[in-house]
């Protein structure tokens, strides 16, 4: 792993103003992100976990420059993201892509898959390699969709398939960083597993990084290289995945891990034994 991180966020702060109403209403400041620093290295998956209201999604938005910071810096490949303008900002928008939680609301319902998937290239004013049709077909194959469905609309796909379209759209511009904001949270468990596998396979093939925002620790365990735990706007612990899950240092991380519902390990073990026995019987 290279020494210089791809993305370096330092002392990020985001305050929202809560209006008191009326002329004399006192407006209070709410600090959603409070002094957050994190690195995403090239080719790794940094998972940002926390409960609702922890500030993890706001952090993701700051990094994607979907909203402005109150203070702090975000450096991407050595350049300050929140100082970018014009062409350089345009280029950044191509290098960082976001996959959102609800695929249906983040895909234009009136556009075909082909139009959705090629849109980032159009915005970037880049040529579509090999023509829109062939390009879309190839992308659809890569995310496990039937390439013959490129003229369909989002509503004609299931939730998992629609999320694959969102992923294909992110891939279209060959980004260096994909921010997955609760990208598998709304999916059924069997579909969720498929999409997690897909995300991992794509990273193996392309070598980009993920900033993986999630509340589900079990999901994070399956995909993260490193984990940052957020609580009430602050990062309470950052570390390699096995350290955070195996030997959590912060009391909040420990509380979070202890709360995750578990299938008893002895049941899983028994199932694996029974499974092996069944397979043996079938072979015999």
């Amino acid at each position: 792993m290279s020494t210089e991180p791809l993305l370096r966020a330092r002392n990020l702060v985001k305050e929202f103003t809560v209006h008191g109403g009326g002329l004399l209403g006192r407006s209070a400041k709410f600090r959603a992100v409070d002094d957050v620093s994190l690195d995403v290295r090239s080719g790794e998956t940094l998972a940002l976990v926390g409960e609702s209201g922890s500030g993890k999604s706001t952090t993701a938005r700051l990094i994607a420059r979907l909203i402005d910071t109150t203070s702090g810096s975000v450096e991407f490949a050595g350049r300050e993201v929140h100082a970018l303008t014009g062409k350089a900002l345009h280029a950044y928008r191509g290098e960082v892509q976001v996959v959102f939680q609800d695929p249906y609301s983040s895909l234009n319902p009136k556009h075909t898959v082909e139009r959705i998937v090629t849109a980032p290239l159009v915005y970037q004013k880049r040529p579509v390699p090999g023509g829109a049709r062939a390009f879309t077909r190839e992308l659809m194959e890569r995310v496990g969709l039937d390439p013959d469905h490129s003229a369909r609309f989002p509503a004609q796909f299931s939730g998992g398939q629609a999320q694959r379209i969102g992923i294909a759209r992110a891939l279209a511009v060959s980004p260096k960083l994909i921010i997955a904001d609760e990208a598998v949270s709304a999916l059924d468990v069997s579909v969720q597993a498929q999409v997690i596998n897909l995300l991992r396979r794509l990273q193996d093939e392309e070598g980009f990084s993920y900033l993986f925002i999630a509340h589900d620790l079990a999901v994070v365990r399956q995909i993260a290289t490193r984990v940052a735990v957020m609580n009430e706007g602050r990062i309470v612990e950052t570390g390699d995945r096995d350290q955070v899950f195996g030997a959590p240092r912060d009391p909040y991380t420990r509380k979070l891990l202890a709360a995750v519902p578990r299938i008893r390990p002895e049941w899983d073990a028994a199932r694996r034994r029974n499974e092996a026995a069944r397979r043996k019987r079938q072979e015999a």
Binding site: S158, G159, Q161, R164, V189, Q192, A193, Q222, A259, W267
Partner: protein, 288 residues
């Protein structure tokens, strides 16, 4: 609580079918379901979206959406619910069978204090009860679900509570009547993981203290493994597999159950690739 402690199950469902008429004929979302719930037992109904698990609970409560057609037999404590008139079913609902829903915020009426909403069932099921008595019952119910400062909080509105506390209010609502059966439909899905753990503990505590039966409807196998002693796996309205929870988790008989169990991400260990039905071929065959 009724005192009949015979061997008959608390709930006996046979051939339960729920259909919706459409232009292309009736579509069954629950197909000929058979299951029992023992007295004081905890039954988990597991399935992905579209499996019909929520429709099953609404069918038992007699709260199916307009147009839905229910057939089959639902025998609750010796009474055939499907033969009851709406009036008689109202007497059962809330009093003997109570329900906890998924999203506590939208399931509570924003215009009334939680005390009003908790005591409502008590006032309408018991005759000759004064408002003061009902209020006392509400405070007691809130104390049983460990809401601190209950005598003061009873006059607060739902929006003044946090998500977890709202779900406690929902559970308090069911407790005011001491029901024989509590149906909890995804009671922790909208909650944070630490709050989820507390609510699951609370449900276990209530079962222990009151001996009420519990039906837990969820998509989360890990949650159900911690609560239920008996399990039903549903898929697209069909009952795929049922049995003791331990048996299903240790030795699932059906491919679909196995696939579901494989797909659950484990917090304790990492499986190289999550084993799924179709990912390797990349054809993404999912049900919705």
């Amino acid at each position: 609580m009724t005192s009949t402690s015979d061997e008959r199950p608390l709930l006996r469902v046979r051939g339960l079918t729920v259909g919706f008429p459409t232009a292309a004929g009736t579509v069954d979302v629950v197909k000929s379901l058979d299951f029992d719930l023992a007295r004081g037992g905890a039954l988990g109904i597991v399935g992905e979206s579209g499996s019909g698990k929520s429709m099953t609970s609404l069918a038992i409560m007699g709260l199916l959406p307009k147009g839905a057609k229910r057939t089959g037999s639902i025998e609750f404590d010796g009474t055939e619910l499907s033969e009851l008139r709406e009036r008689e079913m109202q007497a059962v609902r809330g009093d003997r069978i109570a329900m906890v829903f998924q999203d506590p915020l939208s399931s509570l009426n924003p215009y009334y204090t939680v005390g009003t909403q908790i005591s409502e069932a008590y006032l309408s099921h018991r005759t000759g009860v004064t408002r003061r008595q009902a209020r006392k019952v509400a405070i007691e119910a809130m104390e049983r679900v460990h809401i601190r400062n209950a005598p003061r909080r009873v006059d607060h509105y739902p929006h003044q509570f946090s998500g977890g506390m709202r779900q406690r209010v929902m559970i308090a609502m069911t407790l005011s009547m001491e029901p024989d059966l509590i149906i909890a439909d995804e009671p922790t899905t909208a909650l944070d993981v630490t709050v989820q753990a507390q609510i699951l503990d609370l449900l276990a505590e209530i079962r222990r203290d009151t001996g009420a039966g519990l039906i837990l409807i969820t998509h989360d196998l890990a949650v159900v493994s911690e609560v239920a002693d008996h399990l039903i796996v549903m898929r697209e309205g069909d009952l795929v597999e049922q049995g003791a929870a331990e048996r299903i988790f240790c030795d699932p008989q059906e491919d679909y159950t196995r696939m579901l169990l494989d797909a659950v991400p484990r917090i304790d260990d990492e499986i190289g690739l999550l084993r799924t039905a179709a990912v390797e071929t990349g054809t993404a065959e999912e049900d919705r």
